[in-house]
């Protein structure tokens, strides 16, 4: 009766074993031997140390936290919300300083496009998209998700209104229709700047104020990181649209410089909690995104200051493509790093990193007799 029955072998086998046990019980009044044994239970005495449940290893090394369940829509929303918020600020300041009229119009349009894609992405990720209006049931300061929903409502409506105004203005000559519309436009512009500034930064608070270790460890730099990323993208997209205002290159330099500092600060800090940003798939994404958004466009844009003619604008265009790509990759990298971080129980359990790499332990257990 020392046979081990593996449940995976099929239902009939289990049933047969049960009948066998019943017959034995009828015959003898008792049953000796084993019932059904689970595969892997109890653990063999020579089980690897890192496969056990212990004070040094947690519960069999099983994740303690739940990994973020967001799909691609959310990191992509971080990207669209970021450049949209930055574009609304740029539109307003360009107008304030009487910059190129076309630039103002295109920046507003960029903000409006981002402002309409973003809610669509957020709603698409909801488990129950039909209930998206429940987001506006409450106003909760302590929930960044709630604050973000309200911000997005203000942003999407104000930027859509401004672009609608731009597109219809020329046709209907609206400035002559009186001061009412101008007051309305200024109010919408004010709202778009304030909500844009929140939209481009709050996503850092959103993921920073969670239980995921690699996110909350970086809660102090994430909003600045995301703001720079959004600003760099908005400037780059406008450059790719054909605008050559030096202000755009200036903002591109500033944001690439901030991104370079953020990348360096991640690389220089030696903490196990930051490992998802340096190792594995999420580590590669972080580094690729960081290079594309930071040092590369920074170098190209500074070079462009000393170049002339065609080369100047070509350098800026390459820098712009790099910065936009870097911004997308960076957002996905952070969500991927969050998943890797939540899967590692050693940080929330305050355990030191695993002493040896898994490969070493695996090869050691192959040598020892089973």
């Amino acid at each position: 009766m020392s046979e081990i029955y593996v449940p995976d072998a099929g239902g009939h086998l289990r049933e047969a074993r049960l009948h066998e046990l019943r017959r034995e019980a009828e015959r003898n009044g008792r049953v000796d031997g084993h019932g059904i044994r689970a595969a892997g239970a109890p653990l063999p005495p020579n089980a690897r140390v890192d496969a056990r449940a212990s004070a040094e290893n947690g519960y069999y090394g099983v994740p303690l936290l739940k990994a973020p369940q967001w799909k691609w829509e959310i990191p992509f929303y971080f990207f669209t919300g970021g450049f949209a918020g930055a574009a609304s600020i740029m539109a307003s300041f360009a107008k304030l300083t009487r910059a190129d009229h076309e630039l103002v119009r295109d920046a507003r349009l960029l903000a409006a496009i981002g402002g309409s894609i973003s809610p669509a992405l957020l709603i698409a990720d909801l488990g129950m998209p039909s209930r998206f209006l429940n987001m506006l049931r409450v106003f909760k300061f302590q929930s960044p998700m709630s604050m973000g929903s309200w911000t997005l409502v203000a942003f999407s409506s104000s930027t859509a209104g401004l672009s609608f105004l731009d597109l219809t203005r020329r046709r209907f000559d609206l400035y002559r229709s009186g001061p009412g519309l101008r007051v309305l436009e200024n109010a919408a512009e004010f709202l778009s700047v304030i909500s844009g500034a929140v939209l481009a930064t709050y996503t850092g608070v959103l993921i920073g104020a969670t239980a995921v270790p690699v996110w909350n460890e970086n809660v102090g730099i994430l909003p600045i990181h995301f703001a720079a990323s959004g600003m760099g993208t908005a400037a780059s997209l406008l450059e790719l649209r054909g605008h050559q205002a030096p202000a755009l290159n200036g903002l591109g330099i500033a944001s690439a410089a901030v991104e370079t500092v953020v990348g360096a600060s991640i690389e220089l800090r030696q903490k196990p909690v930051l490992n998802p940003l340096k190792k594995g798939k999420s580590g590669w994404l972080t580094r690729i995104g960081g290079m594309l958004a930071g040092p590369l466009p920074l170098a190209l844009r500074v070079w462009s200051l000393f170049a002339g003619g065609r080369r100047k604008s070509n350098l800026r265009k390459v820098a712009a493509v790099s910065a936009v790509a870097g911004s997308v990759v960076t957002r996905f990298a952070w969500v991927q790093a969050g998943k890797a971080s939540a899967d590692d129980p050693r940080i929330p359990l305050q355990l030191p990193p695993a002493p040896a790499s898994t490969e070493q332990i695996a090869s050691a257990s192959e040598i020892s007799p089973a």
Partner: protein, 261 residues
Amino acid sequence: MTITAFLTDSTLCIGCKACEVACKEWNGIKADGFQWTGKSYDNTLALGHSTWRHVKFVEGEIDAGRGGNAPGELSWEFSSDVCKHCENAGCLEACPTGAIVRTEFGGVYIQPDVCNGCAYCVVACPFGVVERNEADGRAFKCTFCYDRQKDGLKPACATACPTESIKFGNLDDLRQEGRERVEKLKAKGLADVEIYDPVDSSVGGIHAFFIVRGDPKAYNLPPKPEIPTVYLRKGWTSAAVAAGMMLGGALLAFLGGGRGR
């Protein structure tokens, strides 16, 4: 209305999983399947959207008599895990729809008719309890049998538990009972017994505490759970600085732009 709690005593648990089954029966949750995980007799490894009670199997070295096991067999402990119903609940604070509420019994309850499945509570829980059911779309966790408590009944798991390992009652009484039980067990010679109730953390104590043998870390119970709202101040400060940098940067860039190259 009295504030209620669970006291789950792993020294009495026999690992029968009746609590898991009773919970599924009462709440109409789908089965998790008959697969073993390869980690002792554990089926699901963790709590989740379809597992609101979860029996953990912690196997130790051969230790004759420990936990009543036969000589020559590995010693083991069982502990039935459940939502902690935190005093300061991360999921409740994070919920943007107000779907997650505090009941009159002190429990944390997700209203299934309000939740829209944004999944933010999933990353706000320091115990990894809440999970979105991707087939259904909404987030689920232990309801503390709010419906049963409303009718003056004990939660299904506590009712089904054959050894009274799961005790249900008044929060303060059970906390006291738990402390006394630990003292009693220690007096009997079980030196490694302790109660898991992180009152000193920002979670501010839980409404489902556990008596375990050995280090709570072996049961994936974090030594210092933090409610994520503690990071808000730093985060919003940084957001304000970032917003200032954007506004200032844009202003400078466009003011300087006039003289541009």
